[in-house]
Amino acid sequence: MRKLALIISLLLIAIWGLAQNIEDILDEQLAEKPKTEFATATFKSVQLINSHTTKLPDKGDLVFLIAHRFGPISAGFSDLWGLDLATIRLGFEYGLTQTTSLGFGRSTYKSNYDLFAKQLLLRQSTGERNMPITLGIIGSANISSDKWPDDGRNYLFAHRMSYSLQFIASRKFNRSISLMLMPTYIHRNLVKTTADQNDILAIGAGGRFKVSNRVALTAEYHYLLPGQTAADFKNPLSVGVDIETGGHVFQLFFTNVSAIYDAAYISETTASWLKGNVRFGFNISRTF
C-alpha cells in the first residue's frame, strides 16, 4: 500500500513536471537563490559638481580630474565675463578596492594640497540583499601652502591644516534620477578672527537628472547651519550639465564657489547668486 502511494506520487510528480512550462521551472530554480544586484552608474563621475559622489574609480583605476572655476560673470567684458580669471584644481583619485578610494589634489585657492579617502559603507542593491541607499564616508585633510602674512605673529605648521568629514547617502531612484544627501563637518585649525568658527556643520543635497544616455542635468546645494560662518558667507549653489563621451566626462556648470575642495568651498564661499556673482566652471574627468 505504501509502495503504491509512493508510485502514484512519483508518477504525479513526473506528470506535473511534464505539464509545467520549462521556463517556469527555470524561474523556480532561480528564485531559490536570488542574486544581489547592485545599483550601478548612480552618478557619472566621482564628483557631481563640487561635491564628491558615491561613485568610486573601479579597483585599480585612476581618475584624473581637471577642475576650473572662472571668475564672476559680472566681471564683464574686460575680463571676458570671468574667463580671464580662474581657480583650478588638478586631482587624482585611485580605486584601492571596489569600496575604497584614495585621492590627492592641488588647488590654486590657498595653494592648497588636499588628501582624501572615500569609503563606501553600504551599497544600494536589490535581490538577495535589499539596500535602499549607498552610504559613503569621506575624510579629507588639507594643507595650505600659502605664504604667511608678514604680521609678526608666530605661525605653526598646524595652522596650515583644515579637515572635512562628510557622509554621502545616495539613491538611484530610476534610470534618470539619482539624489544624494551630504551632512558635512569641517574643522579649520586657523581662522581669521576670534569670532570665526573653527568647527562648521553643513547639510548638502545634490542630484542628477538624465536627459539622454549621455547627458544629464545636475544641481547641488549646501546649507550652512546657523552660526557666524552662515552669517558671513554664502551657501554654495551650483547647477550644470554632464556630458559623457567615451572615456571622458565633461561637466559644465554655473556656481558661486571658487574654491574646489570640501573644507573651503562649503565654508568660504563669498559670491552671491542673487548679486549675479555667478561663475562658469567645468570639470573634465578621465579614467586611466
Binding site: I7, I13, A14, G17, E23, D61, G246
Partner: protein, 177 residues
C-alpha cells in the same frame, strides 16, 4: 515496482539545469578587442522534448575595464530597462539524437533570442556532450548589435565589431525536485 516508478520519474521529461553557465562575448576590431564574460547564466534543457531556455543578467557581464562595462549597461543594452537576455529554443534534430546516451552530439537549435527588448530568430549549432550523465552544452554563434536595435555612435563605430562572437558553455545538472 519502486525501481520502475523511479525510472519513469527520472526519464519522464528529464530536465537539466545550471545557474552558473559561462557566456563570453568577443568583439574584434583593428582598433581594440573587447571581451566580456558572465559566469552566472542560467539554462534549462529538456532532453525529452529538446526545449531549451536560457536567461542571463546583462549586468553580470564582466569587462576588462569598468568603464566599458558601464557603457555596455548604460548606453548599449540599457540593462536597467532590459535587465535580461532571454533565449528560448528547441533542438530540431532531436529525433536522431539521444542525449541520454554517452558521447558528443551535434545539434541544431532554433531559438528566439531577446536582447534590448528585441527578439530575433537564430539557428544555433551546438554540441551536447553526455559524460556519465553530466551534460555539457557548448555553442559559438554571432549576433549583430543593429538586429537588437542597439545603436552604436559613429565615434566608436570602428571600436565595436559588426558581428559579436558569443561563446556559450553550460555544465548542466539534473533538476532536483
Amino acid at each position: 515496482m519502486l525501481l520502475l516508478a523511479l525510472f519513469s520519474a527520472s526519464t519522464f521529461g528529464q530536465k537539466y539545469f545550471t545557474r552558473n553557465g559561462y557566456i563570453r562575448f568577443f568583439s574584434a576590431t583593428p582598433m581594440e578587442n573587447i571581451e566580456a564574460v558572465n559566469n552566472q547564466a542560467s539554462c534549462i534543457l529538456d532532453i525529452e522534448t529538446g526545449e531549451v531556455v536560457s536567461k542571463v543578467l546583462l549586468q553580470a557581464f564582466q569587462f576588462e575595464k569598468a568603464l566599458m562595462q558601464e557603457h555596455f549597461n548604460e548606453n548599449y543594452v540599457e540593462s536597467d530597462k532590459f535587465p535580461q537576455a532571454v533565449l528560448k529554443g528547441k533542438i530540431i534534430n532531436l529525433d536522431k539524437i539521444e542525449i541520454n546516451k554517452q558521447g558528443s552530439k551535434q545539434v541544431q537549435i532554433n531559438a528566439d533570442l531577446t536582447i534590448h527588448g528585441v527578439t530575433k530568430s537564430l539557428e544555433i549549432p551546438a554540441t551536447i556532450l553526455n559524460n556519465n550523465g553530466e551534460i555539457t552544452a557548448t555553442a559559438i554563434f554571432t549576433v549583430k548589435p543593429p538586429d537588437f536595435e542597439i545603436k552604436i555612435p559613429k565615434a566608436v563605430a570602428n571600436n565595436i565589431a559588426k558581428e559579436i562572437e558569443v561563446t556559450v558553455k553550460f555544465n548542466l545538472e539534473p533538476v532536483k525536485k
